[in-house]
């Protein structure tokens, strides 16, 4: 399902846009959102539930900084077109793989592998190569230059400052 931001109700738009960062760590975060938006907690819970069910909201909660509580890498493979779907399915089945995309390049399969330690990561990369019978290129992050303030959805909505 693909929607533009304007296809959402005003409440949904605010839920999508206003709480992407610095969400309160109070015991009742959804009641806090409701209070700020002037609606009931039940309405917020219901809307948030449905935004998650139709996939617009991936989750509510923490985004962990790469390589701070575990280790991760971006891996790329160059897979023959007729094997891609099968290889991608094998890769996605690993719980340590959290993003897996086809991209139009000689390296056509790109995925992120996250693990609790270097050793764990090496094992997983090895196993992915074994199971897929493909060689992978591992590109671990060396520096992060991006300050994550969430994703601004629309210029018509309340804007947040970006003091990059």
């Amino acid at each position: 399902m693909t929607d533009s931001i304007n296809d959402f109700s005003p409440l949904e738009q605010h839920l999508l846009n206003d709480f992407q960062r610095d969400m309160s760590l109070s015991a009742t975060p959804y009641a806090d959102m409701a209070k700020q938006l002037g609606v009931s907690e039940a309405e917020v819970l219901q809307s948030m539930q449905s935004l998650q069910e139709n996939g617009v909201v991936s989750r509510v909660g923490p985004v962990f900084r790469p390589n701070r509580i575990g280790v991760s890498t971006l891996a790329a493979m160059s897979v023959p077109a007729d094997e891609l779907e099968c290889v991608a399915r094998i890769v996605s089945a690993f719980p340590e793989v959290n993003h897996n995309y086809e991209r139009d390049h000689l390296y056509n399969l790109w995925f992120v592998v996250t693990a609790s330690s270097e050793e764990h990561l090496d094992i997983v990369l090895y196993e992915i190569e074994q199971h897929t019978e493909q060689t992978l290129m591992s590109l671990p992050m060396l520096d992060d230059y991006f300050i994550d303030l969430g994703f601004k959805l629309s210029s018509t909505l309340k804007q947040t400052n970006r003091n990059g």
Binding site: G61, D104, L139, Y145
Partner: protein
Amino acid sequence: MQLNKQVLHLSSEDRALIKAVQSGLPVVSRPYAEIAKQLNSSEADVISRLQYLIDNGAIKRYGVVVRHKELGYTANGMVVWNIPDDKVEEMGMCIGKYDCVTLSYRRPRRLPNWPYNLFTMVHGCNREEVTQKVEEIAEKCGLQNIQHSILFSTRRFKQRGASYTPKKSSTAKTAKLQLVK
């Protein structure tokens, strides 16, 4: 930025909490109380541990995580740049400031196959818009003569929060790794 590069030392309680929240908070009135129940802990303890992870930079952002594609940003281009090493930090910061950009990472080159050392993610409603934004950014950051390539995503096989669950040791054979590392 240096401060945020070390892997944090975490207690087993912290690890259990991370595992419990990595796929998101429950959408209920008292989410931390529910998580506490799973962990045999208290609501106050869950909240204070999360605060600790925020304060120490383990949590980069805390809030609603949206999927771009479902919001109409159907094109995302991974833009990779081959930038001289002494310029990469400055250029990475410059690109990372734009609203349509959601990542800016330095990664190793893998010569001769892979010359690019800066990875940025640029979102748009279609490929033309992404390409146009990349040109704008290149001009504003002084990158017109820098070798770069846009890798558009053509299919999403998986997208969810990271899983940090440790691997069972039964398959722990690290010997003879044939990885390009």
